[in-house]
Symmetry: C2
């Protein structure tokens, strides 16, 4: 019987704690083989600095509440381990920590980079003759991991964006006669347009918002964009634009970096949302409003997708089950068995096939004019926002858990600077 | 038996249609005294241009669905009628339209300006010897109408802001070790800090987000603000700021206007959110993120306050009941009968006492240092975000109604340009 180490990595999501819940609850059902689950405080940094949380000190109710609590309950980290040849000391330190705490299972919950790290840990463990089973757990609102049909975290962000686009669209439609004609919602997704595409779900019939989607996969063309906005305003009376933060102009630069400076000459403060909104005013005099969802879109547990919550839990649970089967250097994936009705199951993929690869929105998911989503895209996205999974409320607010976070007693006296 | 005219005015809310629902359903229960309810297409402009929707053509299910549909189902307008002496023709036109369509009840659903208009219509009707009962229906996310304890629309915006602040706070807390230290959420409320104050509900114990609230009622002091942010980062590891769009500097100018220009020298595009976020980076090097909720906060029916939905319906219903009792030039108000447990009832106030007056956040609702809310403020706000009132969902998205919008046949041939 050995202990397990679990860590969260990269940008958090509304459901990454549901994966943690899946890991811990499943491990607790296998006490004969897994002792304690130690969670890294602030991700992998918690392992490197021997700063770990003993999850066995948390009540059953607290662990269960992780399922409906957004953010990263143990703290996450944007911290990429360098290549083994470049920074062997870090990997060796990990193994030292694992050895000192009798850790036989390494669960790493993150995106592309994290799967790469998990893969490397499995390699170094072999080199250092320390047996440990490494399993990645997929997580990213960007939905850009390969092989898996989708990534836990994405469905809830997608639902937030689709719902918000629909609601703001109704607002603008009411105001357009005398006031706002153009509304722009800026969403995340620096390299891939999955989240921008999710805005497209809001529109189900001709004329519905959004009228324009700007994808990072499509080079921004100012004249074509303006013509599209004008046409929407003339047809529908208003225009709703969903724009990805990652949109680039013909010069390859992010549109968000295209110009503005503050009074001191610092680079722009605003995002791409205000940039494209302002463009429509400059061209046509349209009154505009814009919103930047930023962290709200990835933390909005209050409007999480039920499917997403279930999948996030399922990959956490599957990670433990795979580890117990001795599967090493793998990641549980989501397999789409059927679209209508939506049915899915859990499979697995080798980390080596997942690490450092990025799945972009296929061109076939974007309409010919580059401003909308196709039926194929809708068929792919729709099931992922399916169902609601409301958190409990107290005094009008969602009741999210704060863990006790009892630290594991340090066994190595050696400090380590990250 | 006479017809009724109903119009929506100014910025819409997540629950203004619930008031419309209250008006129409109540009128339908009094068919012996109220014939049809005609709704102005795009507010009062619909009356001036004889462009009205016959709500009797809408099914019972469609009218019922207004209760859970955000935005303004008939269209709203930012259109303030001038003083009677300055623009008698507009008022005379209204009376002509009312006379032509046998309209004996005028229901105007809006904020300060709209109550002024309703008051004026009641005066001109007397002068022109056209008997009509004018009843205002309160609506504004700004919560700035006097006399009434609160304004329908505010509670749902407040709930959205409080929930979003709590969720984003959990996100930032996870990231702060290696990444974002300061998160800024910009909210509406150009003159009054009610919505900014609502962000304060997210924090229930020391150290909870938000750590700083910037109110329009408090002159912005850069040094004190920076010191407060630094202190929060040092204590909690991160800092969440809720800032009202209406914050002004010592020069009396909106902070949002304080500096940025785009590459072409146009005035800044961003709001105050990015301005204050950037300030913390310039001073301390903190990595920051910011969100601007904009229309999302006032259209977020998916996270509406149950209390707010009920009050919005109740003032619509009460407006019709007051009119049937012959009460003229009044507005139903919400009376707080008890805070714990929260109990409320509907009263009435003369439009003359409501029109053109603005209720700001009292100084006693803001902590001594100017950056937080007091217990008195919390006691006032908490009940207004009470309860959830979820809309129905289809395919993962809220199912909002679009009305048929059958036009009333014009009886006056005369055009009118607004």
């Amino acid at each position: 019987m050995q202990n397990a180490f679990y860590a969260q990595s990269g940008g958090v999501t509304a459901v990454i704690n549901a994966s943690a819940c899946g890991v811990i609850e499943t491990a607790r059902r296998h006490r004969d083989r897994i002792g304690k689950v130690y969670a890294g405080r602030h991700g992998i940094i918690g392992a490197l600095t021997e700063d770990m949380i003993d999850t066995s000190k948390e009540s059953r109710a607290a662990i269960s509440a992780l399922r409906h609590t957004p953010g990263g309950a143990f703290g996450s980290a944007r911290y990429k381990l360098a290549g083994i040849d470049k920074n062997r000391a870090q990997y060796a330190r990990l193994i030292d920590i694992f050895r000192a705490h009798d850790i036989g299972y390494f669960f790493y919950n993150g995106g592309n980079d994290s799967m790469d790290t998990a893969q490397k840990v499995s390699e170094i463990a072999v080199q250092m003759a320390y047996p440990i089973t490494c399993v990645g757990i997929p997580k990213t609102v960007d939905n850009d991991l390969p092989i898996t049909d989708c990534c836990p975290g994405f469905g809830s962000a997608a639902k937030y964006i689709a719902v918000s686009t629909r609601e703001a669209g109704l607002d603008v439609a009411s105001m357009a006669r005398t006031s706002t004609k153009v509304f722009v919602l800026e969403v995340m997704g620096r390299h891939a347009g999955w989240m921008a595409a999710a805005g497209g779900l809001a529109g189900e019939k001709a004329g519905d918002a959004p009228h324009v989607i700007l994808f990072p996969e499509i080079t921004f063309d100012r004249e074509r964009f303006l013509a599209k906005v004008k046409s929407a305003v003339e047809k529908s009376g208003y225009c709703v634009v969903v724009v990805s933060e990652g949109v680039r102009g013909p010069d390859g630069k992010f549109l968000a970096e295209a110009g503005t400076k503050d009074a001191f000459g610092h680079a722009q403060l605003g995002g791409v949302g205000p940039v494209v909104a302002q463009m429509t005013q400059a061209a046509f005099g349209y009154k505009f409003h814009w919103a930047v969802a930023d962290y709200l879109q990835r933390s909005a547990r209050h409007i999480a997708s039920k499917v997403d919550v279930e999948q996030a839990y399922a990959v956490g649970k599957a990670a433990v089950e795979l580890a117990l089967k001795g599967r090493n250097a793998v990641m549980p994936i989501i397999i789409r068995k059927s679209a209508k009705p939506y049915r899915w199951s859990i499979g697995e993929a080798p980390l080596s096939q997942v690490a450092n690869k990025e799945k972009k929105l296929p061109r076939s998911f974007i309409t010919a004019d580059g401003f909308g989503i196709t039926a194929a895209c809708r068929n792919y996205l729709q099931p992922l926002i399916g169902g609601e999974s409301y958190p409990p409320y107290v005094r009008g607010l969602p009741s999210y858990v704060t863990l006790k976070g009892v630290s594991v007693v340090k066994r190595l006296r050696t400090p380590f600077v990250v």
